[in-house]
C-alpha cells in the first residue's frame, strides 16, 4: 500500500534531515573566520559592513590614548590608521595591503568595432531589458488567454477566480493611478486596486456554481460591493466624491471583466495561442539570464567602482531577495512551460492556471525589486549626504519607484502584445496550410488588439513618471522636456504617432477581408485625416534647436513666437493625444462591429497587413529602447544623480543621431535573436511529421 511504503521511508528521511543539520552545525559553529560568512548573519541586525564599522570604532577607542589630536582623528579610518602607524615610525606593514604590480597597471578603455565602454554597457543593458520585458509582459495576458481557451471545469473555475482577481489588481491599479495623478484623486490607486480586485472576486465567486449574474448585473454588483469594500480599506481623512466615483468605475470594470472571462466561449484558439507564446517565453528566459550576465560582466569591466557601490547599497536585495525570486521564478516558469501538456492530459488545467498566476506574481515582484536600484540611480532619496544612514528599503522605495513600476507594468504589456503580433505575422508568412494561415491571421489580429489596448494608458503612466521626476528635481525634467533631450522626446512623439497610424492602417487593411465592412470606410478615412492632424500637432516643437538656449552654431530664430507657443505646450499635445486615442478606439469599434456583422475571411488578409504588424512591432520595441535611452541619459553625467559622478571620457550625453543609430543596431540584434527563437520554438516543431498538437493534449471536459 502506498501509505505503508511512505511510512517505511520515514526513518531514512529523518536520518537525512539529521545529517544535513549536523553538517550545517559543523560549518556554522566553527570559530570566527567561518561565522562571519554565515548566510544568517545577513538576515540579522548587523551586516558584515556594520561589523567592520564596529571593529573600526574599537580601533578608534584604542587611539584615544594617543596624545596627538591629529593622530586620534586619523585613527577613525582603516587607511588613516596605517598612516598613523607610519607616523609613529613603527614596522612597515604596507605589504599587508599591497596587492602587487596590478596596482600600478592602468587598464585602457576598450573599443571594438566602434563600440566603446558606454555603448557596450548600453547594448547589454538594453538587450537584457528587452528580453526581460518579453518574459514579464507576455505571461500577463498568456494566463488570461489560457483561461479564455480553457473548458469550464470545476478546477478551472476555481483558478479563474484567482486569475480574475489578478487581472482586477492590474487593471484597478492602472485606472486608479491615472485617476490619482491626472484627475488628482487622493489615494486613487488604492481605491482602484481594492474596488476592482474585490469586485472581480465577488462576481467570480457568485458565478462560480451557476451563472447567477449577467454582465449588467455583474457591473452593478461589482460597483456596489467594490466601492463598499474599498472605502474602509483606503486611508483618507475625508471621503471625497471623486474617490467614490473612481471606486464605482473600477468596481464596475472589475465586475464586467470577471463575468466576461468566467463565461468566455472557451475558444481553443486562445489555448493554442497561449501555449505557443509560452514556448517562446521559455527560450527567451534563457536569453534574459544570458544578457543579464553579460550586462553584469560589462559593468564589472568598465564601471567596476560604480557597480560595486550600487550593489553594495542593496546587500539584502542582491544577495537574498533577487536570487531567491529569480530561482523561484525560474522553477515556476519551467513548471509552467513543461507542465502544459501533462496537466492538460490529467484534466488539471486549473492547477496550470494557478501556476501561471504565481509566475506572474513572482515576475512582477522581481520587476518591482529591480526598479528599486534603477530609480535609486535616478532619484536617490534626499538629503543626499545622509544616504549612508537610511535603510535599504528607503533606497528602494524612492519617489519614482512606484511610477516606474506602473510604467513598466503597462509598457511590458504593450511590448508583449506587439510581439504576439510579430509572432502571428511570422507564422502567417511561414505557414502554407490554409487553416494555419487562418489561425495566424487571427493571432496577428489579437496581437494588435492587445498592443493597442494596453498602449492607450501608457502615455498616462509616462506622464506620472515624469511628473514625479519634476517633483524630485525639475532640472532632470527640464533636461528631458526642454533641453538636451527635447529632440529625443520629439522623436518619441513621432514614433507614437507612427504607431497609432500603423495600427489604424492594419485595422483598415484587415477590414477589407470582412464582408459588409465597406460601410465604415468613409468615416474611417475622416478619422485618418484627424490622425494626421493630431500627429502634426504632437510633433510641433517649441524650437528647432536641440538645447534650451541656442548654442554656438545654432540659429536663435528657430523658435515659435509667443502667441503661437501654445501649439507646443502640453495642452495642445494632450488634445492631440486624446484625438489619436479616440480615433483609434472608434476605428476599433467599427472593426469589432464589422467582425460581428460580417464574415471574416481569416487567412486572406492583404499581405500589407502582415508587414504593417511587423513594422508596428519593430517600432514599438525601438520606441521602448528609445525611452530607456532617454531615462538613462537624463541623469546627465551622473551614475547616481548628484551622488556618484561619471568621470569617464564618455560622460557626456551622446547626440540624437548617435543614439538613433545605436538603438537601431540594438533592436536589430534583438529581432535577429527573436526571429530565430520564434522559428525554433514554434515553426521548427511543426516541420516534423508528427501532428503539431496531439489530440490528447487538448483540454479535457469534466463537467
Amino acid at each position: 500500500m502506498p501509505s505503508s511504503r511512505h511510512h517505511q521511508h520515514k526513518p531514512s528521511f529523518y536520518k537525512f534531515i539529521f545529517a544535513v543539520l549536523f553538517v550545517f552545525s559543523l560549518v556554522h559553529l566553527a570559530p570566527e573566520p567561518f561565522s562571519s560568512s554565515s548566510p544568517f548573519s545577513l538576515l540579522g541586525d548587523s551586516s558584515i559592513a556594520y561589523a567592520q564599522e564596529e571593529g573600526d570604532d574599537e580601533f578608534a577607542e584604542d587611539d584615544e590614548f594617543a596624545e596627538d589630536d591629529e593622530f586620534e582623528e586619523e585613527g577613525e579610518g582603516e587607511e588613516a590608521s596605517a598612516e598613523g602607524e607610519e607616523g609613529a615610525e613603527e614596522e612597515d606593514d604596507s605589504w599587508k595591503t599591497d596587492i602587487g604590480p596590478a596596482k600600478d597597471q592602468v587598464i585602457e578603455p576598450f573599443s571594438f568595432m566602434g563600440l566603446s565602454n558606454r555603448k557596450f554597457t548600453w547594448a547589454a543593458a538594453q538587450l537584457h531589458i528587452l528580453f526581460a520585458s518579453f518574459i514579464l509582459g507576455c505571461p500577463m495576458f498568456v494566463v488570461i488567454m489560457e483561461v479564455m481557451g480553457a473548458r469550464r471545469t470545476q478546477g478551472v473555475r476555481k483558478a479563474i477566480i484567482l486569475s480574475n482577481v489578478f487581472l482586477g489588481v492590474l487593471i484597478g491599479v492602472v485606472i486608479g493611478i491615472t485617476g490619482e495623478i491626472i484627475v488628482g484623486i487622493h489615494h486613487g490607486v488604492l481605491y482602484g486596486l481594492w474596488a476592482c480586485a474585490f469586485a472581480a472576486l465577488i462576481v467570480s465567486f457568485l458565478n462560480y456554481f451557476h451563472r447567477l449574474l449577467d454582465v449588467k448585473v455583474s457591473a452593478a454588483v461589482g460597483a456596489v460591493f467594490g466601492t463598499l469594500i474599498s472605502i474602509p480599506l483606503t486611508p483618507v481623512e475625508h471621503i471625497e466624491t471623486s474617490g467614490i466615483i473612481l471606486a464605482i468605475i473600477n468596481g464596475a470594470v472589475g465586475g464586467v471583466l470577471a463575468n466576461m472571462i468566467m463565461f468566455a466561449k472557451s475558444d481553443f484558439k486562445f489555448e493554442r495561442l497561449a501555449h505557443e507564446i509560452t514556448k517562446v517565453i521559455g527560450m527567451c528566459y534563457s536569453f534574459t539570464a544570458l544578457t543579464g550576465g553579460l550586462f553584469l560582466l560589462v559593468m564589472i569591466v568598465v564601471y567596476n567602482d560604480f557597480i560595486s557601490y550600487l550593489l553594495g547599497n542593496f546587500p539584502v536585495l542582491f544577495m537574498v531577495v533577487y536570487p531567491t525570486l529569480f530561482i523561484l521564478e525560474t522553477i515556476v516558469m519551467y513548471i509552467y512551460v513543461y507542465s502544459w501538456d501533462p496537466l492538460n492530459q490529467q484534466n488539471k488545467k486549473g492547477r496550470h492556471i494557478v501556476c501561471g498566476v504565481v509566475l506572474n506574481i513572482l515576475g512582477l515582484t522581481l520587476l518591482c525589486a529591480l526598479d528599486g536600484p534603477a530609480t535609486f540611480m535616478q532619484t536617490p532619496p534626499v538629503p543626499l549626504d545622509k544616504l549612508g544612514e537610511i535603510s535599504e528599503w528607503s533606497k528602494i522605495a524612492t519617489s519614482t519607484w512606484m511610477p516606474l513600476n506602473y510604467h513598466r507594468l503597462v509598457g511590458n504589456g504593450t511590448f508583449g502584445g506587439y510581439m504576439v503580433g510579430i509572432i502571428g505575422a511570422y507564422m502567417y508568412l511561414w505557414s502554407t496550410k490554409k487553416e494555419e494561415k487562418e489561425y495566424y491571421d487571427w493571432v496577428g489580429y489579437m496581437g494588435n488588439i492587445i498592443g493597442v489596448g494596453i498602449m492607450i494608458p501608457l502615455p498616462a503612466m509616462g506622464y506620472i513618471f515624469v511628473a514625479e521626476i519634476y517633483q524630485y528635481d525639475a532640472t532632470i525634467g527640464m533636461y528631458i522636456m526642454s533641453d538636451r533631450e527635447s529632440m529625443f522626446m520629439l522623436v518619441q512623439g513621432l514614433l507614437v504617432g507612427t504607431m497609432f497610424s500603423a495600427s489604424n492602417i492594419y485595422m483598415w487593411v484587415s477590414m477589407k477581408r470582412i464582408e459588409n465592412a465597406q460601410r465604415f470606410f468613409p468615416a474611417m478615412k475622416f478619422g485618418f485625416i484627424l490622425i494626421v492632424i493630431s500627429a502634426t500637432i504632437w510633433f510641433t516643437p517649441r524650437r528647432f534647436f536641440a538645447t534650451m538656449m541656442p548654442e554656438p552654431g545654432m540659429n536663435p530664430d528657430m523658435v515659435l513666437p509667443d502667441n503661437l507657443a501654445f501649439m507646443a505646450l502640453m495642452i495642445s499635445k494632450n488634445t492631440a493625444a486624446f484625438a489619436l486615442v479616440t480615433v483609434t478606439f472608434i476605428n476599433y469599434v467599427f472593426y469589432t462591429i464589422a467582425t460581428k456583422t460580417g464574415k471574416v475571411h481569416y487567412g486572406k488578409i492583404n499581405p500589407l497587413g502582415v508587414y504593417v504588424l511587423i513594422f508596428l512591432g519593430f517600432a514599438d520595441i525601438w520606441l521602448m529602447s528609445w525611452m530607456g535611452t532617454i531615462r538613462e541619459l537624463s541623469r546627465m553625467n551622473w551614475h547616481v544623480y548628484k551622488v556618484f559622478k561619471d568621470v569617464t571620457p564618455e560622460k557626456f550625453a551622446p547626440t540624437l543621431a548617435e543614439s538613433g543609430f545605436h538603438v537601431t543596431t540594438i533592436v536589430w540584434t534583438f529581432f535577429i535573436i527573436m526571429t530565430a527563437t520564434i522559428w525554433l520554438a514554434i515553426k521548427y516543431p511543426k516541420t516534423s511529421k508528427k501532428p503539431a498538437i496531439p489530440a490528447s493534449t487538448a483540454p479535457q471536459m469534466a463537467e
Binding site: 465597406q518 475622416f526 510641433t540 502667441n563 508587414y611 560622460k651 536589430w668
Partner: protein
C-alpha cells in the same frame, strides 16, 4: 421597411447636432465653464456629426484602384493643400521651419492615404520572397528612424564635454563683469531659462520675464530669498495653483554660496531704463502704471513715508495733493505740461500725458540741473522711484477714471539693450 436615404438621415443628424452645439455653447456659458471647455465640447459634437453623416452614406461596392487612379486625385489635392497650408501658416506668423514642417506632414498624410488605397499586395511566391519583403520592412523602419534622428537638430558633444570639464566656480580674484558672466552661466546651468525669459532671450512664459519685470531693481536679499524660498512671495499674475508650485525649492542645496553671489549679481543687471516694469503672465500683462498695489506703495514713497527711502519726499515740492508747493515744480495735475527746458536732452512739444517712460525715469533718477530736483537715482533704490512715478501719474490720470490700461511695451531687442549701455542710460557702470 425601406431604408432611409442619405438626405433623410442628414436632415435628422444635422439639426440634432447643431441643437446640441447650441445647448453646449450656451449651457457651458451659463455654468461659467471656461471658453476652452466650451469650444472643446462643441468641437466634439461637430466631429461626431461628421462621423454620423459619413456613416449615413449609402453602401457602395468597394473597388480597388490602380496605382495611377490612386494618385489621380490625391496629388492635385495635396498640392493645393500644401500651398494653402504654407501661406496660411505664414499669415499666422509661423516661422519658415514650421511652415516646412506642416507641409511635410501634409506629404506624410499623402503617403498615408496612398497606402490605404493601395491595391491588395500579391501573396509571396515562396520563402525567399517573403524574407525579402520582411527585410525590406525592417530596412524601411530602420531607415526612417535613423534618418529622422540624424536630420533633427543636434547638439555638439564636444561642447558638452567642454562644459563638464570646467572646474567648479570660485569667485576669488574675480571682479564685477566676471562675476556677472559667471552668474549668467549659473542661470543657464540651472535651466532658469526653462521658465523665465530675460528680455528677448528664452522662450517660456511659465514664470515672469525677469527682464521686463526688472528683477534687478529689487534688493540682493530679496532676490536671494526668492530663489531659496520661491513659495514665500508669488509674482503678481502667477497666483494660479500650477504656477505656485512651479519653481523648485531645492536651489538652496544645489547652488553654492559663491554661485549664489554670482547669480544675484547677474540678476541685478536685469533692468530697463526705457520702460516701467511689467507684471503678469503673458498674454495677461500690465505695467506698473496700472497696478493699484504699486500705485499705493508709490504714494507712500511720494509722501515721504517709505522707510527704505528715508529723506525722499516728493510732496514737499509737488504737493501731497498734486498742488505744487514750490514755484517751478512740475504740476502733475496738468496733463499738458511740457518737459523742462533746463536739460540738454529735453523733449520739446511732448506733453506730460505722452511722456515716454524713459523721460520719467531720466528726470527722476538724474534730476533737473539748477532746481531742487536732485538726481534721486544716485541716492535711492530705483525700485521706489518707479513706484513714485506710477503714483504721480494718477494726479492727471486717476486710476478709477481710466478706460483702458496703458499698452505693455514690446520686449526690448538685443540691439536696444546694447544701445542702453553705449548711450549710458544706466547710472551704474556695471549695467
Amino acid at each position: 421597411m425601406q431604408e432611409k436615404t442619405f438626405l433623410q438621415k442628414a436632415m435628422k443628424i444635422v439639426p440634432i447636432s447643431l441643437g446640441l452645439v447650441a445647448i453646449f455653447w450656451f449651457g457651458s456659458a451659463a455654468l461659467g465653464l471656461s471658453s476652452a471647455v466650451q469650444q472643446r465640447l462643441c468641437g466634439i459634437v461637430l466631429v461626431a456629426m461628421i462621423y454620423a453623416l459619413l456613416l449615413a452614406i449609402p453602401k457602395t461596392e468597394f473597388k480597388e484602384k490602380t496605382f495611377l487612379q490612386n494618385l489621380k486625385i490625391k496629388i492635385p489635392v495635396i498640392t493645393i493643400l500644401g500651398i494653402v497650408i504654407w501661406f496660411l501658416a505664414g499669415s499666422f506668423g509661423f516661422p519658415v521651419w514650421w511652415q516646412i514642417q506642416f507641409v511635410a506632414f501634409a506629404l506624410v498624410g499623402l503617403t498615408f492615404f496612398i497606402l490605404l488605397d493601395l491595391r491588395t499586395m500579391k501573396p509571396e511566391k515562396g520563402q525567399v520572397h517573403s524574407v525579402r519583403r520582411l527585410l525590406a520592412t525592417y530596412a524601411l523602419a530602420s531607415i526612417i528612424f535613423i534618418t529622422v534622428t540624424a536630420q533633427l537638430p543636434q547638439f555638439d558633444p564636444e561642447f558638452e564635454l567642454e562644459k563638464l570639464n570646467k572646474p567648479p566656480m570660485k569667485l576669488t580674484g574675480l571682479a564685477g563683469p566676471e562675476v556677472i558672466a559667471a552668474g549668467r552661466e549659473i542661470f543657464e546651468a540651472n535651466k532658469c531659462f526653462n521658465c523665465h525669459k530675460v528680455f528677448w532671450e528664452g522662450n517660456s512664459d511659465r514664470g515672469p520675464n525677469l527682464g521686463s519685470k526688472q528683477i534687478g531693481l529689487y534688493s540682493d536679499d530679496y532676490i536671494k530669498s526668492q530663489i531659496l524660498d520661491p513659495r514665500k512671495d508669488q509674482a503678481p499674475g502667477f497666483e494660479d495653483k500650477k504656477s505656485k508650485k512651479a519653481m523648485p525649492t531645492y536651489y538652496g542645496d544645489d547652488i553654492s554660496d559663491d554661485e549664489m553671489v554670482a547669480l544675484v549679481a547677474y540678476l541685478k543687471t536685469m533692468r530697463d531704463p526705457t520702460n516701467i516694469p511689467v507684471e503678469g503672465k503673458f498674454p495677461n500683462q500690465w505695467t506698473w502704471w496700472d497696478d493699484p498695489k504699486i500705485i499705493e506703495e508709490g504714494k507712500v514713497v511720494f509722501e515721504g513715508k517709505e522707510a527704505a527711502t528715508e529723506g525722499l519726499n516728493c510732496a514737499v515740492c509737488h504737493g501731497a495733493a498734486g498742488i505744487p508747493m514750490m514755484t517751478g515744480a512740475l504740476d502733475f495735475r496738468n496733463e499738458n505740461q511740457p518737459d523742462t527746458d533746463k536739460m540738454p536732452d529735453h523733449l520739446p512739444g511732448v506733453m506730460l500725458k505722452d511722456w515716454p517712460d524713459e523721460l520719467w525715469y531720466k528726470r527722476v533718477t538724474r534730476g533737473v540741473v539748477g532746481t531742487p530736483m536732485a538726481p534721486w537715482g544716485m541716492i535711492f533704490p530705483h525700485l521706489y522711484l518707479w513706484k513714485a512715478e506710477a503714483y504721480a501719474r494718477t494726479f492727471h490720470d486717476p486710476l478709477d477714471k481710466r478706460t483702458a490700461k496703458r499698452p505693455v511695451p514690446p520686449v526690448p531687442t538685443k540691439e536696444e539693450i546694447e544701445a542702453w549701455k553705449t548711450n549710458e542710460l544706466f547710472l551704474d557702470p556695471l549695467l
